[in-house]
């Protein structure tokens, strides 16, 4: 069961990359990259999963003493939170860039911005 989550994660990354590499529209590339980010987050979460265990929240059912045997690995969940926030930050920045690039040349085609080359 864990493999499905991880496999879909990797699949999402590949789809994201494919979208980024073939679409020439800036916004589509940004969307493709955000798909890839979600794929990565999914993979990170699935790495932390231990079959037959519950969320790392201590409450009446999962007492502090029995935690070690009942909860899944909390560390990937902490990492994924940071990864998501950073993904959001970068996507917001790329959107702002795309807006400004559109404002400059009235086009969203990446192939039009090749004045810096060789």
């Amino acid at each position: 069961m864990i493999y499905i989550a991880m496999a879909t994660g990797f699949l999402l990354i590949l789809i994201g990359f494919y979208g980024a590499l073939t679409n020439r529209n800036l916004l589509r590339m940004i969307v493709a990259f955000s798909i890839a980010d979600t794929g990565v987050n999914l993979v990170i979460i699935s790495v932390g999963y231990l079959p037959g265990r519950t969320a790392p929240i201590l409450d009446t059912t999962v007492t502090a003493a029995a935690a070690a045997t009942r909860i899944i690995d909390p560390v990937p969940q902490a990492l994924v939170l940071t990864a998501i926030v950073i993904g959001v930050g970068i996507t917001a920045l790329m959107l702002a860039y795309a807006l400004k690039l559109y404002e400059k040349k009235r086009t969203l085609d990446i192939a039009k911005f090749t004045e810096l080359k060789w």
Binding site: V43, V47, T82, I90, L93, Y97, L116
Partner: protein
């Protein structure tokens, strides 16, 4: 000491605090930013002091009150302290540089700058992989933000391209981290390093992804298109931070990851690094935009340091010294150059000629390119020496060859750029020099020299900056404001004093070279009195060359020898570059000389086999498989300096186009450095066999061919000084031939040539220079009949050509006589035929020189010429006297050397009975010859005077042409294409094969570079393609390997 965490806290506190300030209070915001940066500098400098001076142990800084695997920890050691200091210092200086831009853009840009510097410090300090990822992302977002400081519209698209690649990098990095965590159970770098055994089993791919993502930030070839666009379009101050600081931070991150991966991953780092180094340098050749060129160069240097990271297993405890030297030299020089580029309006390389209005900035530029190409006395030089020594010691020759090839390419395009600065016409806009933009440049220069001193101390060899000759040369930099004649007197006095002080240490052979350098030099310096004004840049360059020469003959170990060799190369390059049209020739000179120097470096490194101290005498103890290769490398290196055939194309232009008093210095004295090298080599290594070929026999043939072709090419020259330059090739060919004979008289002949060549070549160059100064041209067919107007120059040239051609009464004949006796004893017969042919040919071009310049018809425009300036004539007269004395009493110089040579070649010496010098075959009595010739000549002259008492002085003109006035030069005295029939007969031997070969090679490099740089087509998407392709290809190569 203040805990290192405060570096991060101060930056973040200041950044958030800036939010409070209203938009209007920008000045205070800038003040807060500077204060935070100064505090960060203070903290890291404090730590550096405690580690470097008090040698304290590295300190772990815990966060959140828990021990490392469960919380994030930072470490502050010597490397971390120095790197954080580098980062925060370049941040501070760039912030200072960006004052007006930051004030224009407001507090947000200041906050971004602060966070960028903090992120880089974080990357250096953190010991947790995920924390490293967070700081990575912070740095890349800050970079994307800071790119906007530039007023160049294209910066936006460059920023976007960077964001695309950054996204892809973060994907790989995250997956790498999470799977490494899964395999090792911890996110801490040291934890992962200890748990590396399990890591190898399952998830080596995880580590690979993590490592390749970090390496991708180091802009490896071919996936670095985005970096070049940022370098080209971003604000230069930001590029300074981007290349110096972030380069250093990411390199240290890569080093930490290599610490996890262990020795198995070193070859991967070296492979990627060396490919990037060579490819980036190659692609930099055709660049015309200055910032893009600097971008290529900084990518190349980062690649070199990455390659050195991969060699830390064999570098051992010298690892920090080598990697640190290369990295700091690169960072400071690159930051300095970018700050300089901010001062200049034009973006093409020749536009930098605007620097000529500020000599201080030119000095800064020289310091920076010297640091980049690893010239003494800067850290790069010591680091390159140690690297070469250790690489050759471990047998990694291919890697050493690639590094040296890349370094040569880099030196090539940097010195070409320097040639543009000095020689191209100055653009209209002047250099804008506000104090807050000058301060960083001056700070960089000061840091460069300070590091040079520091690396000198740490190098374990003699600290170059403490050697007397170099200090004396550098002191002239401070005296630049003095008028020329005072500096000239100082130079002469200094050199004579140095000779007197060190007189006792020389053995007879080195004494001859010492006399030529330390007494001959001042005699030529006499000619420098004719220049007026301050002559900026002449004396430091000249004294640098003489310092190199003086060190060369006094040093005993290979390091001292190589350092002196590079010093004299650099000094002579700056001297030659002073000529009006000497830019292309000076460039070919420096590239050939540095190529030769790198060969010598490789030779010494190979010979030392890892030994730190290696002196020249032990060259002789080398065993068979290694010795011939070392011999070949060193011999070719030295022969680039004596311009043997094949390596000679730089000499005619370099010596021909140099200034009047520079030509004799460079050709009379500097060529002897190459000969001295060959002397030392043959003295210690003697005969060597390579695949059955006797190497000294090959030298014999090279010497003979150089003599023949050098003289042949001189015949057909129209320019007086180039004719003399080609003749130097011929004379050096004689000397190399003499050396290669490997017998007593052969060496004596070579020494005779060393002395003779110095005297008459300097004299002839001075007289040609004097004539050129008066007539304004060096083309011989434009001159003629100057004997009446410039009698003293004529006498000097007459005595000179009699000496060079070897006609009896003068010392040239002595050289020929020893040559004859030498070849009688030697068994190699065929090369002698070539040399016999070269003898009379020398006579042809000498006669052409004196005939077309002094004899024949006097041109109308030269009717009212005066004699050459007094100060140029004086040294010539001294040389005439010297020649006559040396002709009559050759024993003065040769006797003690003859006895000294006995220890190398006991039999075949000369015996000096009375005035007759006899060898096993013939005898030669110079005094008797001189008297006999004088008596015969005197009596006949008296007889003619008696018979011709009433001879009437008549000019040539009116007899032959009876008043009609010929305009075309060839009608007056046949000067144009003087030896036309000779060209018909032997013209085929002087076809410029060698020149075509070298030009073909350089064109090949340029075309290859021009084609392969098309890879960067400017499309962000294709850059993403390149990156992913890079990851896939490297992965399959690495797993396949």
């Amino acid at each position: 000491m203040v805990s290192a965490i405060y570096i991060l806290i101060a930056a973040l506190g200041a950044a958030f605090f800036l939010g409070f300030l209203k938009d209007g209070m920008r000045a205070t915001a800038f003040a807060v930013t500077l204060a935070a940066l100064v505090f960060m500098n203070f903290v890291s400098a404090g730590w550096l002091w405690s580690f470097a001076v008090d040698a304290a142990a590295p300190v772990e800084i815990l966060t959140a009150g828990f021990s490392p695997p469960f919380a994030i920890n930072l470490r502050m050691g010597l490397t971390e302290a120095s790197l954080t200091l580098l980062v925060s210092l370049s941040g501070l200086l760039s912030a200072l540089y960006l004052k007006d831009v930051l004030l224009a853009l407001g507090r947000r840009s200041m906050a971004v700058l602060l966070i960028a510097v903090m992120a880089l410090c974080g990357i250096i300090l953190t010991r947790d992989t995920f924390n490293l990822f967070v700081f990575f992302e912070l740095a890349s977002i800050a970079t994307a933000g800071l790119v906007l400081l530039s007023e160049d519209e294209r910066a936006l698209s460059a920023g976007f391209k960077y964001m695309i690649v950054a996204q892809a990098i973060s994907v790989f990095l995250l997956i790498g981290i999470i799977f490494s965590y899964h395999a090792t159970g911890t996110l801490n770098i040291d934890g992962m390093a200890d748990a590396s055994t399990e890591l190898k089993t399952g998830a080596s791919i995880a580590f690979f992804l993590m490592f390749i993502a970090v390496v991708a930030e180091l802009k490896p070839f071919p996936a670095n298109g985005w970096a070049l666009d940022i370098y080209e379009s971003a604000h230069p101050a930001f590029s300074a931070i981007f290349s110096a600081a972030s380069g250093a931070a990411f390199l240290y991150a890569a080093d930490k990851l290599l610490h996890i991966g262990g020795a198995a991953w070193f070859p991967l780092a070296t492979g990627i690094g060396i490919i990037t180094f060579v490819a980036a340098n190659l692609l930099a050749l055709p660049q015309s935009n200055d910032r893009r060129l600097l971008g290529y160069s900084s990518i190349a240097q980062t690649g070199l340091v990455l390659a050195v990271l991969g060699q830390q297993d064999i570098l051992g405890d010298r690892y920090l010294f080598v990697a640190g030297g290369l990295l700091l030299a690169h960072s400071i020089a690159k930051a300095g150059l970018y700050w300089l580029s901010g001062l200049i309006a034009g973006r093409a390389l020749p536009d930098w000629a605007a620097l000529r209005s500020r000599p201080l900035l030119i000095f800064a530029f020289i310091v920076f390119i010297a640091m980049l190409s690893g010239l003494p006395p800067f850290p790069g030089f010591y680091a390159k020496w140690e690297l070469a020594r250790l690489l050759a010691g471990d047998g990694r020759i291919a890697l050493l060859a690639l590094i040296l090839f890349g370094a040569l390419l880099e030196a090539g395009y940097l010195f070409r750029w320097f040639g543009y600065i000095l020689k191209r016409e100055q653009p209209a806009q002047p250099v804008v020099c506000t104090p807050h933009k000058l301060a960083p440049v001056i700070a960089a220069v000061a840091a460069g020299w300070a590091l040079g001193y520091l690396w000198g101390d740490l190098s374990g060899h003699a600290n170059l900056l403490l050697t007397v000759p170099l200090l004396f040369a550098l002191s002239f930099l401070l005296l630049e404001w003095l008028p020329a004649w005072i500096k000239n007197t100082l130079a002469i006095a200094g050199m004579l004093a140095f000779f007197v002080l060190t007189y006792a240490e020389y053995d007879p052979l080195r004494l001859i070279f010492a006399v030529i350098i330390l007494i001959g030099g001042p005699v030529i310096f006499l000619a420098s009195y004719h220049e007026h004004g301050r002559r900026l840049g002449f004396y430091p360059a000249a004294m640098l060359m003489f310092a190199g020469l003086a060190l060369l003959i006094r040093t005993g170990d290979s390091f001292g020898f190589f350092a002196a060799w590079e010093l004299l190369t650099v000094g002579s390059y700056f001297l030659i570059l002073r000529g009006k049209h000497s830019e292309p020739h000076a460039l070919s000179y420096i590239v050939f000389s540095l190529g030769g120097a790198f060969l010598i470096l490789a030779g010494f490194a190979l010979a030392a086999q890892g030994a730190a101290q290696y002196d020249l005498a032990s060259l002789g103890l080398l065993t068979q498989p290694l010795a011939p290769w070392v011999f070949m490398l060193l011999a070719i290196g030295f022969m680039t300096k004596t311009a043997a055939i094949g390596l000679h194309i730089w000499l005619p232009g370099a010596h021909g186009e140099a200034e009047t008093d520079v030509s004799p210095m460079v050709s009379g004295i500097l060529l002897k450095a190459g000969l001295f090298g060959l002397f030392v080599l043959l003295m210690s290594m003697g005969k060597q066999q390579l695949y059955g070929i006797e190497l000294t026999h090959v030298l014999l043939w090279i010497g003979a061919l150089s003599a023949l072709l050098g003289n042949l090419m001189a015949i057909f020259e129209e320019d007086a000084k180039r004719l003399l330059a080609y003749s130097s090739i011929g004379q050096m060919g004689y000397a190399v031939f003499g050396l290669a004979l490997m017998n007593h008289l052969g060496w004596l002949m070579a020494l005779m040539f060393v002395i003779n060549h110095y005297i008459y070549k300097s004299m002839l160059f001075l007289s040609a220079g004097g004539v050129a100064k008066r007539t304004g041209t060096r083309d011989m067919y434009r001159m003629g009949g100057l004997i009446t107007l410039m009698p003293l120059s004529f006498i000097a040239t007459l005595i000179g050509i009699i000496a060079v051609s070897g006609v009896p009464p003068l010392s040239g004949f002595g050289g020929r006589w020893i040559f004859y006796n030498a070849i009688l004893t030697s068994d190699a017969r065929l090369p002698m035929v070539v040399l016999f042919f070269a003898g009379p040919i020398a006579f042809l071009y000498l006669f052409r020189l004196i005939h077309t310049v002094f004899l024949g018809q006097l041109k109308d425009e030269h009717r009212k010429l005066k004699e050459a300036p007094f100060w140029i004539i004086l040294p010539q007269m001294i040389f005439v006297v010297l020649l006559l004395v040396f002709a009559v009493v050759p024993g003065l110089a040769l006797r003690r050397v003859d006895i000294y040579l006995n220890q190398f070649f006991p039999e075949g010496g000369l015996n000096w009975a009375g005035t007759t010098i006899s060898s096993n075959y013939g005898y030669w009595n110079p005094v008797a010859i001189m008297i006999a010739v004088a008596v015969i000549f005197g009596s006949l002259f008296a007889w003619l005077l008696f018979v011709n008492r009433k001879a009437q002085k008549v000019k040539q003109f009116n007899i032959v042409f009876a008043g009609e006035r010929p305009y075309r030069p060839e009608t007056t005295h046949f000067a144009w294409n003087f030896f036309a029939p000779y060209r018909k007969a032997l013209g085929f031997m002087v076809q410029p094969f060698v020149t075509r070969f070298w030009e073909g090679l350089t064109n090949l490099l340029h075309v290859a570079a021009d084609l392969s740089r098309r890879l960067y087509n400017g499309n962000g998407q294709s850059y993403a393609f390149h990156f992913i392709a890079f990851v896939v290809v490297v992965h399959f190569l690495w797993t396949g390997v």
